[in-house]
Symmetry: none
Subunit: 223 residues, 2 copies
């Protein structure tokens, strides 16, 4: 049935199994699950492990356990948290979404950037050009620059979307940097400088193109 589930933590597998049976309608909304001991034997894991699986689903808002009473289904479909979605999907999908958001934001920023925005972007650019001791540190200064660009678009929705991506992108970026450090650091820094300059010059088309080119480069590096 689900051969892919035969990996990782047992608790995670158990949670997956439970969720599958819930979505299949075995225990409808509001109904009670069998007891811990029964269910643990049925799934083939220890009680503690099953309890952790239940906690995981409780954290996602699917189950609720009441002492002395039982464990109940309180939501058949996961109110899929943004973080949860992003962790599930591929990095490529996330980068494509970043292209959509950041390219548009760069174009809007070229229209609307204030002198204050420009100072913030150039400050972030300078910090990015400095020396960095770890992949984490570099990822942070890079993300900070990108965030300043989106902030300069003065569009709250785009900024909120960007912030939603940050955790996921940061992890992926650090992994990538550790596996394969940036080949041509000078060119990379120059590309970012060009983006800031295009925004400074109030050139939406070039700004969008800079952003798009950079991110498709990242996309290529990851595949």
């Amino acid at each position: 049935m689900t051969p892919a589930a035969q990996q990782g933590r047992l608790a995670a597998q158990a949670a997956e199994a439970l969720l599958g049976r819930i979505r299949a309608g075995e225990w409808p909304l509001g109904h009670k699950l069998p007891g811990e001991t029964t269910l643990a034997v049925e799934i083939g894991v220890g009680r503690s492990t099953l309890r952790e699986a239940i906690r995981e689903l409780a954290g996602q808002g699917v189950l609720e356990s009441r002492q002395g009473s039982g464990v109940f289904v309180i939501s058949t479909d996961i109110t899929e948290d943004w973080d949860v979605v992003l962790r599930r999907v591929s990095v490529a999908s996330v980068i494509e979404a970043r292209v959509a958001i950041e390219a548009e934001a760069a174009a809007l920023a070229a229209h609307r950037r204030t002198p204050s925005d420009l100072r913030a972007m150039r400050r972030a650019l300078a910090r990015r050009s400095g020396s960095h001791h770890s992949a984490e540190e570099f990822a942070d200064v890079d993300m900070a620059l990108h965030r300043e660009v989106v902030a300069a678009s003065h569009n709250e929705v785009l900024l909120e979307l960007f912030d939603g991506f940050v955790p996921r992108v940061r992890v992926a970026m650090i992994e990538m940097l550790k596996l394969r450090p940036i080949q041509d650091y000078e060119a990379d820094q120059a590309a970012h400088a060009a983006l800031v300059e295009a925004i400074a010059e109030r050139d939406p088309a070039v700004a969008a193109e800079c952003s798009r080119a950079h991110l498709t480069g990242v996309h290529r590096a990851l595949s």
Copy 2:
């Protein structure tokens, strides 16, 4: 300090305590928490209980545990509800974000649309051209078409973002339609047909431009 926390399950209290310390910045994004045994003693609960607390936060996407390595902070704040954000911001901001997402999705759809996607889009287009009794009904068929386009991009993140916008956009659209009905209905329908045709012809540039033109038209109509 937190008298209200002295109730309910111990595991829930522990999770609350952890979340508080995380949000206070004690363990920044991406950093490792102390070991389970250490933390359990520190908080004053058993190790199993602490593990359940960690699972609960893991289910919420705050923590991630890696065997042999440790438990890490992967998201300091739980994502603010989309509905709340979107209600707060202006309609103009939302439309700009829609441009970003839908134009990119249209371009990707032009690359990736399958015959099945095409059928779905043309079916939605046909339903949109039919007669509609209410503004609500028209808004729904319009949104359905736009959604099919984004779905044809085969990018889950973009689709998820679009779905997040739907409720807010729907309300704004109905209000607008009641205040000022569409002037040239024929031209409006033709613009949507052109978008679908561009995707059918696998022309990303034209598809993106159609989408962008349509939405900026909506933007203008609202201001």
